[in-house]
């Protein structure tokens, strides 16, 4: 078993998270939020707040020395709301004080005069012609649009015996990392600034902070502290918080600590995009899919964030792992005055897969086919061409393999026959199983440049310092990188000294997202090791075959051979044609299947999940135990998405800001779980490894919806599928059938 190298500091309490940093002379800052989701700010009266004892300063849009607006794709996100607020989590001011309590007390005393503006809380309304524009500089509220045109769907429908249309909807989901956002910023004597904090991608924080402060990038040092969970959620918001902290420290010349409360975190931070998916498919009597039309509308909220990418991935993956010869897809992200939405584990895929996998089962039911046989008849095959025109011949197309492995292990055939299918048992309860499967592009694909760097430095005492440009996002990246490095070098892993990402030291390696950490980081490490070995080889030859690593290192140093290397990895080419949505979107793909078994208490609609199983082809599991941990955690998060979690907005204002009302799955609800690792080594990956973190989170919603169907006979097309909904559906059906 490969153990996590950061576990020891985490079980002893020694790991340093952002909130654990205390510096002399440090001040605390708290955010003051928008009084209304869409309003014109008339005035901000800080007179009463300023006189609260301990207040150091109150900072607003007028204190931003650099650019007021920021963003990774489109710079439409106000670091401080100026003149207008666009969602309830917009920050109007930061209040800095000697103590946290003084800052909060002062915040209570700021008086904001405002005038509500007409607000938009649904993408449908926001898309209507003449709708008020949330960003006046834009033509309309459509943030982005991706089309795919492949074949001729009209011709496909003509060949079909049955044409079926369905709609599916998903909800706003909170990342619910256990550690709320936090950072500490320090103004250095040379005019530069250092920010230490918990972010997934230190380089985003660096860019945002440089832009907002007006400092050159090399005057902004970001050092990642131990991260208390991210799941895609610790990018834009924490980077903006870092920028605000930097602005305050540069003005006050004192270290500034910003640690959000849970309520502040949930209020400001972005959520998972709610999707509204419309599908229309044509299928022949013998179960061959002929055509698919897909319309996807996602709520982007007030700011763009990563919306274009979050919409693009489900566009590429809108068919699921099934061949449709003719496809027309249009995906939109639309601005509203809801909380902005962005990256969250899966990146649009849990939403689209809930729709795809529910729809496939519905199609099977419409033509009286077995849902598994129906899938098999249409699965991607080795060498097939997808709806984006990409030929799948450079990796193992393992969809049938993972599905077979999962179903066999689950005793699918036996259990499927036992499903209640709408007929409850003597106690009024229902039993069902369901499955969902997917394919998924690895890494960023055509979203952006795909690059990674790793630095190895071997000290004279034969310790190996390793720094990789991708960041530990709690997934165990450090452990995997250290193990790859150790094994490639032929030394014990204890020799590796892993250095946390420092933006002034290692080159920008693109964000640690898209489940790309292992693949891109691992490849960069292997490249660095290769260079080191090249330097060591002649020396080793000289001093003899039996010399130890220490001896060779020492010899190198005495010969002035610097054992230092910068390893890099450049993503293989990808392509995308924007107007037709055709191209090789990603350089390789992974495949997964998840299965669930559950019971429904008919009277209350309560669901008891009994068992979950995940089978995933990840190329190669470098650390099988950590990989299984990812599968378990991902399935449980998926279970929350399917059954219970939902951020509820009321007129744009979030109603459940803390865990008493936003309920994630607890230990008491977790069912029996199994994880199956399928390995088809990929030529692109280090030791053949591909991706895992997100695939494991993109299937359970669909599997649950399908299991509920085979249990109750009712098709639920909207997540979360709560007990209330199930109960109502069951009672309605009863009254109809009576």
């Amino acid at each position: 078993m490969v153990r996590r190298i950061d576990a020891i500091e985490k079980v002893t309490g020694a790991a340093i998270y952002a909130e654990d940093i205390f510096l002399p002379d440090m001040i605390y800052a708290v955010p003051l939020f928008a009084p209304h989701p869409h309003a014109k700010i008339i005035s901000i009266d800080t007179a009463k707040a300023k006189v609260v004892r301990g207040v150091v300063g109150i900072f607003t849009a007028s204190d931003v020395p650099g650019e007021l607006r920021t963003g990774g794709v489109v710079q439409d996100h106000y670091i401080f709301a100026k003149d207008v607020t666009r969602y309830s989590g917009d920050v109007v001011a930061m209040i800095a004080a000697e103590t946290l309590e003084a800052a909060r007390e002062a915040r209570d005393k700021v008086d904001i005069k405002f005038e509500p503006l007409p607000a938009l809380f649904s993408p449908v309304d926001a898309m209507k012609p003449g709708a008020p524009k949330i960003h006046p500089e834009r033509e309309n509220n459509i943030c982005c649009h991706y089309p795919v045109r492949h074949g001729d769907t009209d011709a496909g429908f003509k060949k079909s015996d049955k044409i079926i249309e369905r709609e599916y909807k998903t909800q706003h989901v909170e990342h619910a990392y256990l550690e709320p956002e936090g950072c500490v910023a320090i103004a250095n004597a040379d005019g530069s600034v250092t920010v230490r904090g918990g972010m997934q991608h230190p380089f985003t924080a660096q860019k945002f902070t440089a832009r907002a402060t007006g400092l050159p990038v090399n005057k902004v040092q970001i050092i990642q502290t131990t991260l208390g969970g991210g799941f895609g959620g610790k990018d834009d918001t924490i980077s903006i918080i870092c920028a605000r902290a930097a602005i305050i420290t540069l003005k006050t010349k004192r270290p500034v600590k910003i640690i959000y409360t849970r309520e502040e975190s949930v209020r400001e931070s972005y959520k998972r995009h709610p999707f509204h998916v419309k599908f229309k498919a044509g299928v022949t009597k013998d179960g061959k899919l002929q055509a698919l039309e897909a319309n996807i509308v996602a709520d982007a909220g007030a700011y763009c964030s990563t919306s274009p990418f979050v919409i693009w991935r489900p566009t590429v993956q809108c068919t699921g792992p099934y061949i449709y010869p003719n496809v027309k897809c249009d995906s939109y992200a639309v601005y509203t005055n809801n909380t902005f939405t962005g990256a969250m584990r899966g990146f649009g895929s849990p939403q689209i897969n809930f729709a795809i996998e529910s729809f496939i089962d519905e199609l099977a039911a419409e033509i009286n086919a077995d849902p598994i046989e129906f899938r098999r008849k249409n699965f991607f095959t080795q060498g097939c061409t997808t709806h984006t025109g990409q030929k799948f011949d450079n990796h193992k197309v393992a969809i049938a393999e993972v599905v077979n492995a999962a179903l066999e292990k689950f005793d699918w055939n036996e259990k499927f026959g036992k499903c209640s299918r709408g007929a409850p048992d003597a106690n009024g309860n229902y039993y069902g199983i369901g499955m969902a499967c997917s394919y998924r592009g690895v890494s960023l694909g055509h979203e952006g440049k795909d690059f990674c760097a790793a630095i190895i430095k071997i000290t004279p005492d034969a310790k190996v310092e390793l720094e990789v440009g991708v960041a530990e996002n709690c997934q165990g990246l450090k452990t995997v990188m250290a193990n790859i490095c150790a094994k490639e070098l032929g030394v014990e892993v204890e020799k590796i000294i892993y250095k946390d990402v420092d933006t002034l030291s290692v080159p920008d390696s693109c964000p640690t997202v898209a489940s790309r950490g292992t693949l891109v980081g691992g490849n960069a490490v292997i490249d660095a090791v290769r260079q080191i070995k090249e330097k060591m080889a002649p020396v080793a030859k000289n001093i003899g075959a039996h010399s130890s690593f220490e001896d060779i290192v020492s010899a190198c140093h005495s010969m002035n051979i610097e054992l230092h290397a910068l390893g890099t990895w450049q993503g293989p080419p990808v392509s995308w044609e924007e107007t037709t949505g055709q191209g090789n979107a990603y350089f390789t793909y992974v495949y997964g299947c998840q299965v669930v078994e559950l019971e429904v208490e008919g009277k209350s609609g309560k669901v008891r999940v009994k068992k979950m199983l995940g089978a995933h082809d990840m190329g190669k599991a470098i650390n099988p135990e950590m990989a299984k941990g990812q599968i378990f955690g991902g399935m449980v998060m998926g279970m929350g998405f399917g059954l219970k979690e939902e951020i509820i907005h009321k007129e744009g204002v979030i109603q459940n800001l803390n865990f008493d009302k936003y309920r994630i799955v607890t230990s008491a609800e977790v069912p029996e779980m199994e994880a199956l690792i399928v390995e088809n080594r990929d030529p692109a990956g280090p030791w053949g490894a591909k991706a895992l973190g997100e695939p494991v989170n993109e299937l359970m919603g669909g599997a649950i919806a399908n299991a509920l169907y085979y249990a109750t006979g009712v098709r639920f097309r909207e997540t979360p599928i709560k007990a209330e909904t199930i109960r109502t559906a069951l009672s309605l059906r009863r009254s109809i059938s009576d």
Partner: protein
């Protein structure tokens, strides 16, 4: 905020009269509320060190539970387990272990949340609350204690010191039931306590009205009758007259109304097994 620690009950009563500060027992509700509202009192009187308030005893056929007993202490108490197992069950579902270890039964009563888990049990057993002040002692029946949403019959110089429950007659059957979102750590969507003593019934619900409620109409209908599925089916029709559930973020009024019936029906099935 000034925190004054009361050394004993006498001290606590004196402080309450002099200072009029709110009482701080376990703090698991009041500290959460103060944090959310940012409404902090000038001070609080802390009674967690007052040992007299932790006693649980049986005297003159009455079980007296000190208001300062934590939910864990009540749940582990042998007297309670023997005579009031429904209260044991209720105490075990108040939040998670960490909350049960600090939150007190007196706090649950005084917090007066319609969702308070122990309240339907106390209400169904016709408990009485003992309120003390330097002026003396008042005993108020539970049925009169809750006057409206979070409104109780307690005066600003009083402290809740104990809860008194008459020892149930032999062959009393009582169950506590809850429908929540999670097995532990849940604020209930609906909770209830059902009691049958001889041919008399006591039924109380939480989370279905502004206060915990006794279901008088259902009780009157059931009293004297031999319970059967058919009888309960008739009683279910009356339940809507006894409860007025509301919609909030945790559940809908319609669902609460429905699961209230489910719980009553479940009670009938449990009784059939006795």
């Amino acid at each position: 905020m000034e925190i004054i620690k009361a050394k004993n009950l006498k001290d606590a009563l004196k402080l309450r009269t002099e200072k009029k500060f709110p009482i701080l027992a376990g703090g698991t509700d009041i500290l959460v509320q103060m944090r959310a509202s940012r409404n902090f009192p000038k001070g609080m009187i802390c009674i967690s060190g007052v040992r007299e308030l932790k006693k649980i005893s049986l005297k003159n056929n009455k079980i007296e539970i000190g208001a300062g007993a934590t939910h864990s202490e009540v749940a582990l108490n042998k007297l309670v387990q023997k005579y009031l197992p429904a209260l044991t069950d209720a105490c075990k579902t108040v939040g998670a272990r960490q909350i049960q270890n600090r939150g007190t039964i007196g706090g649950n009563v005084m917090n007066a949340s319609p969702a308070g888990d122990t309240l339907p049990v106390l209400l169904a057993f016709d408990a009485e609350v003992v309120l003390q002040s330097v002026r003396g002692k008042r005993i108020v029946p539970f049925t009169k204690f809750y006057k409206g949403y979070r409104s109780i019959d307690a005066r600003s110089d009083e402290i809740l010191t104990a809860i008194i429950i008459k020892k149930p007659a032999p062959k009393t059957h009582a169950v506590f039931m809850k429908i929540g979102t999670r097995r532990a750590q849940a604020i209930s969507k609906v909770c209830a306590c059902f009691v049958r003593a001889g041919d008399k019934f006591a039924i109380a619900y939480g989370s279905v009205a502004a206060t915990p409620v006794r279901c008088k109409r259902v009780e009157e209908f059931l009293n004297g009758k031999k319970i059967s599925a058919a009888i309960v089916a008739e009683a279910l029709e009356l339940l809507n007259e006894d409860i007025q559930p509301i919609e909030d973020i945790r559940s809908s009024a319609e669902y609460r109304s429905h699961v209230s019936k489910v719980l009553l029906d479940r009670f009938q099935r449990i009784l059939a097994t006795f």
